[in-house]
């Protein structure tokens, strides 16, 4: 124990020393730096424009800001109609992509709490997505039905699950189960730091998938669970069947994203957000200032898990079929690594960043589908280029940009001093 703390104090003070002189250290060697400088020159009008519009937005009176935000949400909500009109025959295809982007954005926003806010590297995030999806599939009775069919139990067909209104409550059940699993994983492991935590979470992600694969009596193993019912809304005389369309799921996801951003913004500007920032910057000092570090990290973990489970429920109810392979580490849909890439590419710690990152990472492979499997090369290349030019991500939060060395936040004077020194 004492030894660990020794080391952590040492490494932390070293980091602090590295970080202080001359402001932000930039990653990469000379040619990357030159590329970055060049890129900054080229894009400076764009960035200035964005900055001005951001400042303009910040200065607006609150009602105007609310109105603009509402308009933005409305614009996102009419996307299905616009696609229908504009694309005709390929509209359903693109709508399915947009819905996938919605799921990805929700997951990225959830992982962002863990990675971007609390500063913990979580490589097993998809596990929570899986726990949410499986909890839902089991609660609706779809799993019981599948197992009965597989075992050729007489009367199995009668077990085929139907949607009932009370099943909306399963969203909460899935959230509760997943948060609990987040706490179970987090309580013993969040005392670890950095790489060690990453390894443990990586393991957790695999444990969940392998358990789903082998716990055949509950999860139907590798065969997976199908016939998960699609949601309906039956209120009085109002009936709406989500069915196999994409639009209603898209709206559902949009709703969850809006609610999540709304809540998380409030949390971020409270003492909890400050505690997360303090932990990220200097954990020992944070603890010495009365921040319950383990509890705060656990909270971030549980909140991230809750969001993932919501994504999992929507996913399971739309696709109607899940199996353990849906939740692989490197799965090109929602693998842990892919979700992490969305957060890092888009920019950590903010809200627009993960959404943009998720959209891009879902969109790019689709856009280059004509290239066959080599489309992933293009995709990889784009990520590398973005990371060289913008190590802080496309749209980082302001504080995160400072931490990761962004062009905009660097003082001109500091930069000149460094140039002369070289």
């Amino acid at each position: 124990m004492s030894r660990e703390t020794d080391e952590e104090m040492e490494s932390q003070s070293k980091r602090a020393q590295e970080a202080t002189p001359g402001g932000v250290e930039e990653p990469g060697g000379r040619w990357q730096e030159r590329a970055r400088t060049q890129y900054r020159e080229w894009t400076s009008p764009v960035r200035a424009g964005l900055r001005h519009s951001r400042e303009w937005f910040d200065k607006l009176p609150p009602p105007a800001r609310w109105a603009l935000t509402a308009a933005l949400i409305a614009a996102a909500a009419v996307v299905p109609f616009v696609l229908n009109h504009a694309l005709g025959i390929t509209a359903p295809y693109w709508m399915s992509i947009v819905t996938k982007m919605g799921t990805a954005a929700l997951l990225a926003l959830g992982l962002n709490v863990v990675v971007g806010f609390a500063g913990l590297l979580d490589l097993g995030y998809v596990a929570f997505f899986a726990v949410g999806a499986y909890t839902f599939a089991i609660l609706t009775g779809a799993s019981r039905y599948n197992i009965a069919v597989f075992n050729q139990v007489p009367g199995a067909a009668a077990l085929k699950p139907e949607w009932h209104m009370y099943m909306w409550l399963f969203f909460f059940a899935a959230i509760a189960v997943t948060m609990a699993s987040g706490v179970v994983l987090g309580a013993p492991t969040l005392r670890l730091r950095g790489d060690y935590l990453a390894i443990v979470t990586l393991g957790f992600g695999e444990i969940v998938r392998i358990t789903a694969n082998n716990l055949t009596s509950i999860t139907n193993g590798a065969l997976g669970i199908n016939q998960i019912p699609n949601p309906h809304i039956n209120v009085g005389s109002f009936h709406y069947d989500f069915g196999l369309n994409n639009a209603p799921y898209y709206w559902l996801l949009l709703g969850f994203i809006v609610i999540w951003i709304f809540l998380l913004r409030r949390v971020d500007s409270s003492r909890i957000g400050r505690a997360w920032a303090a932990i990220r910057e200097d954990e020992v000092a944070a603890a010495a200032m009365g921040v319950p570090t383990v509890r705060m990290k656990l909270l971030a973990f549980a909140m991230g898990a809750a969001v993932a489970s919501v994504g999992g429920v929507v996913y399971a109810s739309q696709i109607s079929y899940i199996n353990p392979d849906s939740f692989q580490l490197f799965s090109s849909d929602f693998g842990s690594v892919i979700i992490l890439a969305m957060v890092v590419l888009g920019g950590m710690g903010g809200f627009a960043g993960p959404i943009v990152g998720a959209s891009l990472i879902i969109f790019l492979p689709e856009r280059f589908r004509a290239l066959g499997d080599s489309r992933f090369l293009v995709f990889g290349l784009v990520i590398i280029i973005v990371m060289i030019l913008r190590p802080q991500g496309l749209i980082p939060s302001r504080r995160r940009a400072r931490e990761l060395g962004g062009g905009e936040t660097r003082d001109a004077s500091v930069y000149e001093v460094q140039e002369h020194a070289r």
Binding site: M1, S2, T5, D6, M9, Q12, S13, A16, Q17, A19, T20, G23, L263, R266, V267, S270, R271, I272, R274, A275, A277, A278, E281, D282, V284, A285, A286, A287, A288, M289, G290, V291, P292, T293, V294, L299, M303, R399, R402, E403
Partner: protein, 276 residues
């Protein structure tokens, strides 16, 4: 004068190194108490044990009558006992600063202090999400108190400046303000004057006295003798993990063992002969 901190038989062993051996200290309420000694004498180790960063090898430290070093019952589960964690000790009323400044470099001066004040705030996630009136009042109170503390240490004009952009002396002041935000009854200052110029030192001494005048007991580690002798009510001297002297500044200054520890045996003998 009642004791606020009572250490008895405090011992800390790192592997084969005895960093602290059987140290007894009593700090009275409202004192400015200094702990001095050559480098490596165990001063910072002593701080780190009080604040729960290192578990002790042996000994007891009572703060306002409460034992800090022994495992304490966990809230809600009174039968389970666990060593106190640093944040719990801070919340009991022991604030501290660090030898090598450990501010949150990319948070503003105001935010740094707000983190300290949050130690006694109550708003949880749910209340933050709902932004209840109580939570909003608490936030406002936190900002007001943080500004007050910035003013107290004299750097309120840098409230919105990033901590890492402050001048060195101001960073030291900000660290003191941040620790005061945790509402300490006892404030541990680890070499606050290190690296300061004489005028900064003079104003730091005034600041420490002002802190004490607010009713906060100050426990100081310092190498700068001018500062130590100028403001301390009492001084204890550590050498190789053992307490070799304790008393008022004049007494400690004349103590031959202290002179020996700092200047070597020859100097101590000369001092005994009355030579300068």
């Amino acid at each position: 004068m009642s004791a606020i901190l009572e250490a008895t038989g405090v011992t800390k062993v790192f592997g084969g190194l005895r960093a602290l051996h059987d140290v007894d200290l009593v700090i009275g309420e409202g004192e400015i108490f200094s702990l001095i000694g050559p480098n490596g004498a165990g001063k910072t180790t002593f701080f780190n044990m009080i604040t729960g960063i290192y578990p002790p090898t042996d000994g007891s430290v009572r703060f306002k009558g409460e034992e800090l070093l022994k495992p304490a019952p966990v809230p809600l589960f009174p039968l389970v006992k666990r060593p106190r964690r640093p944040f719990q000790i801070t919340r009991l009323g022991i604030g501290r600063t660090f030898q090598n400044i450990r501010l949150f470099p990319l948070m503003t001066a105001l935010e740094n202090i707000m983190v300290g004040i949050d130690a006694h705030n109550h708003a949880d996630v749910v209340r933050a999400m709902l932004r209840t009136p109580g939570q909003r009042a608490e936030e406002q109170g936190t900002v007001d108190r943080a500004v007050e503390l910035l003013r107290f240490v004299g750097i309120d004009r840098y409230a919105n400046e990033l901590a890492k952009n402050l001048a060195y002396g101001d960073q030291r002041r900000l660290e003191i303000a941040r620790a005061m935000g945790t509402r300490p009854a006892l404030l541990l200052l680890d070499e606050p004057a290190a690296g300061m110029n004489p005028s900064e030192k003079a104003s730091l001494m005034r600041l420490i006295q002002q802190v004490r005048d607010q009713g906060i007991t100050v426990f100081l580690i310092e190498h700068d003798m001018k500062v130590v002798m100028g403001i301390s009510d009492r001084i204890a001297v550590l050498d190789f993990g053992e307490k070799i002297a304790e008393g008022k500044p004049e007494e400690v200054q004349r103590n031959p063992r202290v002179i020996e520890a700092y200047l070597g045996r020859g100097a101590a003998e000369k001092a005994d002969d009355g030579a300068p």
